[in-house]
C-alpha cells in the first residue's frame, strides 16, 4: 500500500477522537516500521481485512488513554472489560470508515482484542507496515496499517 492511501485512516482516527470525546487528537506523520512490537501499548484491537485488500488494521493504546476516552463518553465504569471493548471498537470504526475510500469490497472482521505487550507481535509478511502516531490528552497511541492489494 502506498502512503497516499493512508489519508483515509488519518482522517478516520482524528474524527473518532473529535466526535467521541469532543477533544481533537494530534495525528503525526506516518512512518514505516519492520518490527511493530515497540508500538504495542496496554490494549490492542486487531481487525483482519480481506476482499479488495488484504492485511490488518491494529489500534494500540495505553490504559490511561482508554480510561479517559470512556470517561469522556459519559460512562463511569472503566473496568478492564470496557477498555478491551473500546480498543476493539476504535479499530472497528476506523476500519469501517475506510470503506469510504476503498468501497464495499473492503471486508472487515469483527475485532480481536489483546491486553499487554507480547514479546513478538507480528502482523503479517506484508512489506509496508505503516505506523500512524496519535497524541490525545498528552497520551500516545498507534494505528498500525498493514495492507496490500489482493
Amino acid at each position: 500500500m502506498q502512503s497516499r492511501g493512508l489519508i483515509v485512516f488519518i482522517d478516520a482516527i482524528a474524527n473518532y477522537f473529535t466526535s467521541t470525546t469532543g477533544t481533537e487528537a494530534i495525528v503525526g506523520t506516518p512512518f514505516l516500521a519492520k518490527d511493530v512490537t515497540e508500538y504495542i501499548e496496554d490494549y490492542t484491537g486487531i481487525i483482519g481485512i480481506s476482499g479488495s485488500k488484504k492485511g490488518s488494521i491494529v489500534f494500540s493504546a495505553p490504559s490511561r488513554m482508554m480510561c479517559r476516552v470512556v470517561q469522556c463518553m459519559g460512562l463511569s465504569s472503566t473496568r478492564e472489560e470496557e477498555l478491551m471493548d473500546l480498543v476493539g471498537e476504535v479499530c472497528n470504526t476506523v476500519s469501517g470508515n475506510a470503506r469510504r475510500e476503498f468501497g464495499e469490497n473492503f471486508n472487515i472482521t469483527v475485532p480481536i482484542t489483546i491486553k499487554g505487550k507480547p514479546e513478538n507481535f507480528a502482523v503479517s509478511e506484508i512489506t509496508n507496515i505503516f505506523i500512524i502516531p496519535i497524541e490525545w490528552s498528552r497520551l500516545r497511541a498507534n494505528l498500525i496499517v498493514n495492507l496490500e492489494d489482493s
Binding site: 474524527n15 473518532y16 466526535s19 460512562l75 470496557e82 473500546l86 476500519s95 470503506r99
Partner: protein, 121 residues
C-alpha cells in the same frame, strides 16, 4: 416508546443507554449480535431499534431481514462504521429506516432518533 439496542460493543451499548436516560424511550432490551436481537425482539416487541452491522454470529444486514420477516413495523436505525453507499442502500432496501455513521456524538444520535420517531408520537 420501547427501544432495543443492538451492538457487539458493550461500550457503545452503554453509551446509547446513558444517552437515552433523559429521553422519552424505555429501553426494553439490549443484544450483542443478531441472533440475540431476534430472540429479544420476539419477546419485547420494541417500537424502535438501534442496530450495528458488523457483529458476530448474525450481522446487522441479516438481522434486518430476519426481523422484517417477523414484523415490518419496527423502525430500525442502523448505527455503523461501514460508510459505503452499497451497505447503506442495502440496509434501507431491506427495511432500515435511518442510518447513523460511527463515530457519533450525543447530538448526532439524538437528532437521528428524533427523525426516526417524529411521526410516531
Amino acid at each position: 416508546m420501547k427501544i432495543m439496542i443492538v451492538d457487539d460493543s458493550m461500550v457503545i451499548r452503554n453509551k446509547i443507554t446513558q444517552m437515552l436516560k433523559n429521553q422519552d424511550f424505555e429501553i426494553v432490551a439490549t443484544a450483542q449480535n443478531g441472533l440475540e436481537a431476534l430472540e429479544q425482539y420476539k419477546q419485547f416487541k420494541p417500537d424502535v431499534m438501534t442496530l450495528d452491522i458488523t457483529m458476530p454470529l448474525m450481522d446487522g444486514i441479516e438481522t434486518i431481514q430476519a426481523i422484517m420477516d417477523v414484523d415490518d413495523s419496527v423502525r430500525i436505525l442502523v448505527i455503523s462504521a461501514l460508510v459505503d453507499k452499497a451497505t447503506l442502500i442495502n440496509a434501507m432496501k431491506l427495511g432500515a429506516y435511518g442510518f447513523l455513521c460511527k463515530p457519533f456524538s450525543d447530538t448526532d444520535l439524538a437528532d437521528a432518533l428524533e427523525e426516526l420517531v417524529e411521526d410516531l408520537n
